[in-house]
Symmetry: C2
Subunit: 190 residues, 2 copies
DNA sequence: AATATAAGCGAATATATATTCATTTTAAAG
DNA sequence: CTTTAAAATGAATATATATTCGCTTATATT
């Protein structure tokens, strides 16, 4: 007896991510994915019921992974601003290093592939971010505006930064990163 | 003899926009578009050589239109901040009223449909925005950071705001709009 | 009003893509 | 080492989609 190979799922996911970032969700076929992953097309159907399931599983995996990474090293003991910056940098680093995920998630949001259930579950994972904003507001450090609005601002700006960085191939050096963070912080601060 | 009908092109474009916003670029077929536009599938090919040309033409039209609208009412005579806010509001209004275009443009960017040529031309239309930032910097009103970075911030935050508004169906009332603008301005101001 | 010319049509065709399945390969268990 | 069950394969099939084309309809021009 042979066991399903977890490594193969990762191969499949990475192949799909690479291809979607390059050609968009509309331009990627099951055949493309299998070729890029170095397996036969039929094998995809051993791991996933079909294209829908594959895309939904990948979407969920990306979302979970990204939330996990964001709070790495976060400790509520340390003061808000450095703690916030740590998270901000975690997210930025992650998105720069996993550019394909940024594009994939963006493309997915308006595709018929993603089910409402998958969407819902992704949304629920945002809770820690709301809690973070809440802390900053309780400490009177950031504006008393709707947390959703503030998060929208932070994430929207960062996503666009990551995309612009990727296309322009301007290297995002330390100075540029700090400038970007200052823009973000000045926007938020009370 | 019968002439090609400009109104029909608009019908086709609007149908395509509606469908892409709903189902994503990957989920929209030529058949869908013709049905939604109320014409026969073959007629699409009277107006466009094929799907590629249709998508590229729509992309270019959206981009031109949005730049046009942005600077409506702008007058370099009036002080920078209200002039800037006017433009910011123009863009926000436009994006809220033409949500399908926001999604369509986003989806297109990473699709194999859009040619490099189309992409290039879209980029060139950004010149007036760079000029605007330049003015603000010369007047010492906004930060002396790279203009591309500042624009990225403004546009990224706004796009996300528009999307979040649409999904959450939180109405963006005057107070919320002003809060959002303040976030933006506080980020930029010197 | 007659004619010419292009738009408009949609079923038929060509093409691309997802999915299945009979067969082969792999590796765990006895 | 043999057996066995599941994974892996990829050509074959089913399905979906883009595109074409012979024909009809509309309307400018004479």
């Amino acid at each position: 007896m042979k066991r399903k190979d977890d490594k193969k799922i990762i191969q499949i996911f990475q192949a799909a991510l690479r291809l979607v970032a390059e050609k968009g969700l509309s331009g990627v076929t099951m055949g493309d994915i299998s070729r890029e992953a170095g397996i036969a097309t039929g094998t995809l159907y051993v791991y996933f019921k079909g294209k829908d399931e594959l895309i939904n599983a990948l979407f969920a995996a990306c979302r979970e992974n990204s939330v996990q990474v964001s709070f790495k090293g976060y400790n509520p003991q340390i003061p808000f601003k450095p703690g916030f910056k740590n998270i901000w940098l975690n997210i930025l680093r992650y998105k720069l290093q996993h550019f394909e995920e940024v594009i994939f998630m963006e493309q997915c949001y308006h595709s018929p592939f993603i089910t409402n259930d998958t969407r819902e579950k992704a949304l629920q994972l945002s809770a820690p971010f709301y809690a973070l904003i809440d802390r900053g507001q309780k400490e009177q450090l950031i504006k008393q505006a709707d947390a959703g609005l503030l998060l929208t601002f932070i994430i929207g700006a960062m996503n666009e930064l990551v995309k612009q960085t990727h296309y322009s191939s301007i290297t995002l050096n330390r100075s540029r990163i700090n400038t970007a963070f200052d823009l973000c912080w000045d926007a938020l601060k009370a």
